[in-house]
Symmetry: C2
Subunit: 351 residues, 2 copies
Amino acid sequence: MRAYASTGRRLLLAAALALATLTAAPAPPALHAQGADPLPSWNEGEPKQAILDFVEATTDRSSPDFVPPGQRIATFDQDGTLWVEHPMYTQVIYCLERVPALVKEKPELKDEEPFKTVLTGNKEAIAKLPMKDLEKLLIATLTGMSVDDFQEQVKQWLAAARDPRWKRPFTELAYQPMLEVLRFLRDRGYKTYIVTGGGQDFVRVFADQVYGIPTEQVVGTMGGTKFGYDGNGKPFLTKEPKLLLNDNDAGKPEGIHLMIGMQPYAAFGNSTGDQQMLEYTKAGEGRRLSMLVMHDDATREYAYGPANGLPETKVGTFTQALFDEAKKDGWIVISMKKDWKRIFAFEGSGQ
Amino acid sequence: MRAYASTGRRLLLAAALALATLTAAPAPPALHAQGADPLPSWNEGEPKQAILDFVEATTDRSSPDFVPPGQRIATFDQDGTLWVEHPMYTQVIYCLERVPALVKEKPELKDEEPFKTVLTGNKEAIAKLPMKDLEKLLIATLTGMSVDDFQEQVKQWLAAARDPRWKRPFTELAYQPMLEVLRFLRDRGYKTYIVTGGGQDFVRVFADQVYGIPTEQVVGTMGGTKFGYDGNGKPFLTKEPKLLLNDNDAGKPEGIHLMIGMQPYAAFGNSTGDQQMLEYTKAGEGRRLSMLVMHDDATREYAYGPANGLPETKVGTFTQALFDEAKKDGWIVISMKKDWKRIFAFEGSGQ
């Protein structure tokens, strides 16, 4: 009876301690400690080791670089960092493919530019549309409807749309190694944010499903909304053609301050549009991590950017200057070709 | 030995179940289940019961009104809802009291309006300053400095400043009954947000300390920032005199969409500036809770607003029309006099 009571007490104590640990830190660091690799789609090398070391250093209470859970913020660019951005940003494809439905709702648009050209499907002609026509396209497909209707439109499109190369839903084109980084950081108490030049409302539609990132942790290019009432007096919000913040370049740290209010401890990008976010992150006190995804794998994904002697493109510009800054300031460059065992979940583990 | 093993197994199982519960839901609902009152500073009555019933209905898995944890959003106005707003918003006091330090930094301002009048300390004259002078005051005290410097200025002021009536730090003037509501909601898996007409960056400085609300869950009137580099090439953000969103009236649901992206399930306000937020909340599907704090206790706090036959004021306007809308649409009106056992933590429990 004495042994029984004492064992019971010991087990209860162990449970209580486990509970205390769990409530103090968001997640048990058991996975890594038990030897399971939190980044199985990464090859061994500097980038993988940099992530493991950073997380260990900032989440181990005995480390001089320990960061309290409330301050563990990690930000991720989306296009080209978390999923494919070539040959065209997914949101631009959405805007183009939305045109037929739009013209069905507003037939008067079918003879108006840029809708007329977009409806022909002529890619060269579409690529030549002037900036003011592109703006008109964005305004027509991304604003003027209620917030709820917009979400529904994007949802329906995502379910049916297929990317031109892999013939899969765009939501399957997230990079498996980066999904592992997101999960690993969250398992260690980090709050993961998307900080994208894409539309905040657009990315919110699928961020949870694809990345496990909730709506309120999506920072993107922000448009205004307008509060009003429908015919039954029920309030709703309409998406307005009013730009609040262009979440690119300097807009990224500005958007981070607006939406989060703290400097990230880790940031991931892939282009000059992420430069200021990576600088801002790295400039914080204590140990910080800035990483750049380099697209150098034409076989498994795409190769672009002059850092690797590759052709420069309009989408996802990774200049030699950015590469040099990364090397100088201790950012880590990820080679998709060398550092990633596999690119997409649908490829299987490749083992 | 058999009993020993079986007891051990049972206890481990219980611990495992406890762990599973804890990881599934953010916090154990033990307090309430064990009979402890989560709202001890509230008198029994409709408002207290409405909060208890709402939380029970939306967090009990077997309830038809169950809300998944990720969607449990509750929003709180600050001035007059979470802390004292009379006779003047705390942030306005800050701007006024900041003037001497500002003039010390920029002596050329001492003969310029409105700084000249503010420096006299003449309350009647200050109250008569025209709107354009007030705007100049806000711009001079809330913008032009780095984000970090601003935080430091507010922190230092908060440590030294005392409110005119209770002679206490403003941070002690939070309403104890509302602090209990915040904690109770969080204990049951709600994410609590401040949605204030006050400056987002201002409120962020003390939101965690006073309300347990982290920086990223403060939605307020938003100003732009500008990214730049200091003399050593280190990046920093400067607060700009550019209004991105006036988080009052219709701006509250617009700010909620911008920062959270979801309709709240519960919202708390105290004035016409909160009307649209309360409408927006109540308009959502399923069970929602909209509540209004009514200031009708001149002895323990202040009494104002015509709903109770009280004088209307510029600060925290609670019109008869708002009162009528609340009654018609099933919002719950909280009487500070009747429903709150005590107002402030420093009063003691009053038992």
